[in-house]
Amino acid sequence: MRGKARVRAAIACVVMALIFTGFSARLIHLQVGKHEEYTALAAQKHSIRLTVPARRGLIFDRNGEILATNIPVRKVVVDGSHLNNAEALAALAAPYLDLSEKALGKELKTSSKYKVLFSDLPEDKALALQKAMEKKGLRGMYFHQNTTRTYPNGPMLSHVLGFLSRKDPEDEHVVGVEGVERSMQDALCGKDGFRHIERDRTGREIVIYRGQEQAAKNGLSVQLTIDMGLQAILETELDNACKELRPENAIGIIIQPKTGEILAMASRPTFDLNQINSAKPAGMKNRAIMDMLEPGSTFKIVVVAAALNERTVNENTLVYCENGSFAYGGRILRDHHGYGQMNVHDILMKSSNIGSAKLALMMGDEKFYEYVRRFGFGERTGVDLPGEISGLVHPPARWDKLTITRMPMGHSVAVTPLQLAMSMAVIANGGKLMRPHIIQSVKDSEGKEIQNFAPEVVRQVVPAKTAEFVSKALMEVVTERGTATLASVNGFAVAGKTGTAQKVDPRGGYTEGKYVTSFVGYLPAEDPQLVCLILIDDAKLSPSVNYGGLVAAPIFSRVAEKAARYLDLTPASRAEALLPVAMRQTDPTEFRQ
């Protein structure tokens, strides 16, 4: 009896021992064998890498006026595994999110741990919704920090500033895709930080379990050379011109010739940076650097400067202008008026096509081409804006027999408006070609300057003496004797050149009755402070009045007058008192570089 009891007790002990051994084995298996797997699973469920977004840098004009800034918003994210009452949450959140309860309820039926509902919910709405959720004990919807870009001036300077867009529809990150936003993307964007956090089952962060952390590095601010005062003047005048003339495009540029700083740049049509979705592609193009066109007579400064510098002619050389009709290469080249003998000064002042063509013929195609390139045509100016094109200047090997006579008057060549303005800046700046730039400096969030963009001389195109001679001829263009009387500005000596070119047909040849008119000039002529280009593409006017001197010159005058007043330039004497000195008093050898 006693033996049986002992056996039973022994069996019970063995069974108990086996059970506990089994438990122990299972425990060891879970804790040791499956350690990695379950740790990863727990981490996946509760640990997340939270991105701390960097604040994008601001953009200022040269006087510190804010041109692009950020508005904090919240990104609304739903974690399907944390939702405790989707119906109640839909009912509560729908009014805040401007969605119907039904639509939101549908969105909330998700098993995804990260579903973005909105990327730019206003901060005040997000906070109010968050508090309402906490009050009702609802969870599963989170509000992550985010920012949206805003441009206080709306459509003003839109082509220069550019805008942001998603690089990839699947990617939430936005990058600059046009303008300064794109060219300065690396400086503006900063670097996102991160923080490894753990959440409890309600989704709240457990602060003491915070892991590795890296603070966000905010983007740098960019200061432009743009002066919004001048920009406003230019844009107002372009808008007025567009209302009056209804052109296809209108372009305006103001440059400080001594430094190459772009003070204002505008194109029409335009678009509102804050309503990018309603913008039309044609309006989003920065035509000042992306359009190329035949410049017309404004190009004559190149052949005159080149011919003088190469001593092909001197100030006294008379060129026979064929009384307005010059047969060359089987075609007739005409002037608007018949001129006889003219010196280079008068050729420029009267804008003689035949005179310009003859100067180029006397110089030869290779030399003329060299000067065209030296003035910066046929290559990108290197302005710090994306999408700049180089224009089109064929080498002499590809010229036909007429090119040598057509190019001096601004045909058979395609240039960008910025190249045209910079070529005039060469004359205004004593023959030096500056690199145009629009970025003045890069600063950190405390306003400390990190990088400064100093003026850069590209090359000395022609000697100062040659530039001075051309400048004096250009001053006469704006007098009663020249072609652009309407470009004059009271109290200031203005130098400039008109341009009228028949519009190129994309299918080949020229479009009948359509003209690109322009005026590019500077003031005060004796000490240039600004170069201004006005270009009107296809003004709806009769061909008999569609000339640079009648269309673009008055706009230049209004812009220049207001700009002079804005910059508080001190007027000198009238232009008549600044007429060029007699050319016979100068030494022709001085024109040679």
């Binding site: 800034t69 920090q145 805003t150 001036n153 962060e205 602060v207 009271n490 200031f492 508080d568 009238r574």
Partner: protein
């Protein structure tokens, strides 16, 4: 009688004495362990509490900062050139000419010549 005496004597010889020393040691050890445990729980709770406070403080700072940025953006929008132009057009604000006598110039302006054409660039149309 004998058996009773024997029983009593046997019991007294088997009474386990209480060793106060070791008992105290064990009790102290147990108390120390439990105190450590409680302290651990207390410190842990304190950590969570401070963590929660940190989270709340961070949230408040974030909200204030965001509110500040919203207001700054609103100020720049309301003081932008286009907004001021709109207010000017709607006559909410007006421009008052600055009299020439109120302008201090570093460079004296050139005076008008006999022909009356030469004028200062500033305020030429606004001077009384």
């Amino acid at each position: 009688m004998n058996s009773m005496t024997l029983t009593a004597g046997h019991r007294s010889s088997h009474v386990n004495p209480i060793h106060l020393g070791s008992l105290t040691r064990w009790l102290l050890l147990a108390f120390a362990f439990s105190a450590c445990g409680l302290l651990f729980v207390y410190v842990k709770n304190q950590q969570h509490f401070l963590g929660e406070q940190t989270r709340q403080a961070e949230r408040s700072i974030r909200e204030v900062r965001a509110h500040n940025e919203v207001l700054l953006a609103r100020i720049s929008a309301l003081s932008s050139r286009s907004e001021l132009q709109r207010k000017l057009d709607q006559k909410f604000i007006t421009l008052q000419p600055i009299r020439d006598t109120s302008i201090a110039r570093l460079v004296p302006p050139a005076t008008a010549g006999n022909d009356g054409v030469l004028r200062t660039a500033a305020n030429e149309r606004l001077s009384p």
